[in-house]
Symmetry: C2
Subunit: 215 residues, 2 copies
């Protein structure tokens, strides 16, 4: 295999960016621990020995911070899923998407929980909008692929594939519930050491659901 060209190292984050990253990390951890209303700005700044001014340099207030962090977490969670490379056949396409989805949800578990808690506070509509926007992108990609797989074209065929794609994504979102309402910590596929088997089972289910029993 040809060697990959060396990619330039990403620019080193500035001091301001590092401070913001520290604040974000602490807020995500706190949101996993207690209700949003019980989180004080002092709690956010204390672990890094920062003054409240550092918080207010980056955020207008707590609600602004929760909204910004929720939107960023949604974006980070879906970025690798949306960037999954297209595959030649439908089953492999499903494997690509599902691998990225489950990996992101498992690795970013505390961010998934933070998104839930922020949505649960019911005053951060921007987070819901951000999630709906990335969900729409993923659904459209999947619907287009399903229409191709079914060998159908035209508006009606896309609309029908879109319905199927919607329900498949509903299935994925149940996994978030499991990450959040974690009665099943030990069953998470990454921890069961059979991640690939799990993903291929799910991809098989998607294929059956998308192309029906006749194929």
């Amino acid at each position: 295999m040809p060697r990959k060209a060396a990619t330039p190292a990403p620019p080193r984050p500035s001091k301001g960016e590092r401070t913001r990253d520290q604040l974000v990390e602490t807020i995500v951890a706190l949101v996993n621990e207690r209700p949003l209303d019980d989180i004080r700005i002092a709690d956010i700044c204390a672990p890094h020995g920062l003054a409240a001014g550092a918080f207010y340099f980056h955020f207008k207030g707590k609600d602004d911070a929760f909204e910004a962090i929720g939107i960023e977490a949604v974006t980070r969670l879906y970025a690798p899923v949306l960037a999954a490379p297209p595959a030649a056949d439908f089953f492999s396409e499903c494997v690509e998407i599902l691998t990225q989805f489950y990996r992101a949800a498992i690795e970013r578990r505390s961010e998934v929980r933070a998104i839930f808690m922020i949505l649960n506070a019911r005053r951060h509509a921007g987070v819901r909008d951000a999630w709906l926007a990335v969900r729409r992108q993923l659904q459209q990609r999947l619907a287009a692929r399903i229409a191709v797989e079914r060998g159908t074209t035209g508006t009606g065929a896309f609309a029908s594939a879109n319905v199927t794609a919607h329900y498949l994504l509903c299935g994925l979102e149940r996994f978030y519930d499991d990450v959040f309402f974690l009665t099943i910590d030990a069953d998470l596929p990454a921890e069961a050491a059979n991640f690939d088997v799990f993903v291929r089972q799910q991809a098989r289910l998607w294929s059956v659901a998308a192309t029906g029993p006749t194929q």
Copy 2:
């Protein structure tokens, strides 16, 4: 239409049953308000002027009460859905199931939230088991109906219909999330005064998803 035979009135609940009902009602309300760990037995008994003994007559302790109430709420939520009468055609069958489902989820909104909060506490596996059991019943009913609709028979056909039924139910469960993470209070179909239109739209989606684009 023939007049229905008069059904006998249900037996009047005993004093003990009425006390238990009062306790359950208060617990559901409290669970909607604050974390489970912040609910004290005194808070549960106070609204009805009961002593702690009344609580302990009915429940072994708080965790026993949460588990029992969660299981009962799940059962009550799904009972009308499972009892939806079979219909002659698939679309009408979907309308029957969906009508009962959405009506129950809307009318029992505080119980839906209580179930979420109790599951969220991660120490009431019985509630999850109860939910999985009723879900399984509903999925089997739906899968059998989808296989008939597709005109296919045999184990393979049922397995494939079962996959479809699973994803359709995942779609329904997203509605619970909306009831719980209620950024959308005003959009609930019952309140939008177009409940029937909403249900028929959903039934149309189910029909397309179940029977595919070719029918």
